[in-house]
Point group: C2
Chain length 175, copies 2
DNA sequence: ACCCTCTGTGTGATTTTATAACATTGCGAG
DNA sequence: CTCGCAATGTTATAAAATCACACAGAGGGT
């Protein structure tokens, strides 16, 4: 229920030491495809333009399945013949973030593909301080202590940043 | 209970349009003094060194009572005859943040004085997107959806960033 | 008092992250 | 077709943060 498990039964195609993926091994190909087509559908529905740069950036983040900085993304875009200056990356990321296809991790100044394409939601993240793996969960901003404080204060919450930093299961084991 | 109300009954000494202070008008002098002496005590107890730069930075943040960027702080330090290079500000801020006297607002790349000096706690913030006022509340990381997700995943939370962005009471009114 | 060490301060230089400003392209509505 | 607008691209610059190294001064041990 909570996150990156994606489809079906867990598949162990990954060699065991590929990039961290959200604390759970799973089939990348499936989630890249799923993420992309979810985005395509939403764009078609809402008249948004998923242009080549934007599409490619989303694809990169889906493939990577961890947080990438804007400049890491830019480097690849450059290699692939897209523009080579920061605004190219930032604009694509802004578009994707604005539409919920990717999220910015404030703590890392970096971006991850959304793990729950489709529904609008308030994401929460768990970030491993050792291996930088990032897993996305749902938060419920209006509920809980913060929601109560906000209501009491007359503060209108529009957006929330919720990021937990700590040790992922793998790194806990190794320690 | 929740935040910057500080002492006693609210006092309206402020002219009514001084800098935003956390959604509630209150007596600055009192909270500056309270914040500083709390820090002094904790440092004495724990053998920490509240040196002049550090003390002054804390005092600035307490006076300001809103988020200041490291470079805003640095500018003032420079004017006052302290060092003039970024590390001076960053080091003082690191010390203060490490010991819980100030908090970093990731969303703004800026720092605020802690509103609950003393007890160790997991802060949560409400940030007005219009006037940049910041109020501090308490969060309860281990509880709620995120805590459940973390336990389910075997993720060990060490620290949390919780920041709500929206409109403060004042700005809501004006709109 | 002396030396030693360790922490903190100061500096210049650099890296990393992000935005401003403006020219150009190309699609779609009329 | 052509006008307008959104997206792309570029150069330049701003803003945030860190590195590397020199020096000063507090405090402990002798």
């Amino acid at each position: 229920m909570i996150w990156n498990n994606m489809t079906s039964d867990t598949q162990f195609e990954l060699t065991g030491d590929t990039a961290p993926v959200g604390f759970q091994k799973h089939d990348h190909k499936t989630c890249v495809a799923a993420g992309l087509s979810a985005a395509e559908n939403r764009c078609k529905e809402e008249g948004l333009r998923l242009t080549p740069v934007r599409r490619r950036v989303l694809e990169m983040l889906l493939q990577e399945h961890r947080a990438l900085g804007a400049y890491a993304i830019l480097d690849r875009l450059r290699e692939e013949g897209f523009g080579s200056q920061p605004p190219v990356a930032y604009r694509a990321l802004d578009f994707l973030a604005q539409n919920g296809f990717v999220h910015k991790i404030e703590r890392l100044n970096a971006f991850v593909a959304c793990s729950h394409p489709g529904a609008s939601h308030s994401p929460a993240f768990m970030i491993c301080r050792k291996c930088d793996a990032v897993a996305e969960a749902q938060s419920t901003p209006a509920k809980g202590v913060l929601g109560a404080a906000a209501r009491a204060a007359g503060f209108e919450i529009e957006r929330t940043v919720v990021e937990a930093e700590g040790l992922c299961p793998d790194c806990t084991e190794k320690a």
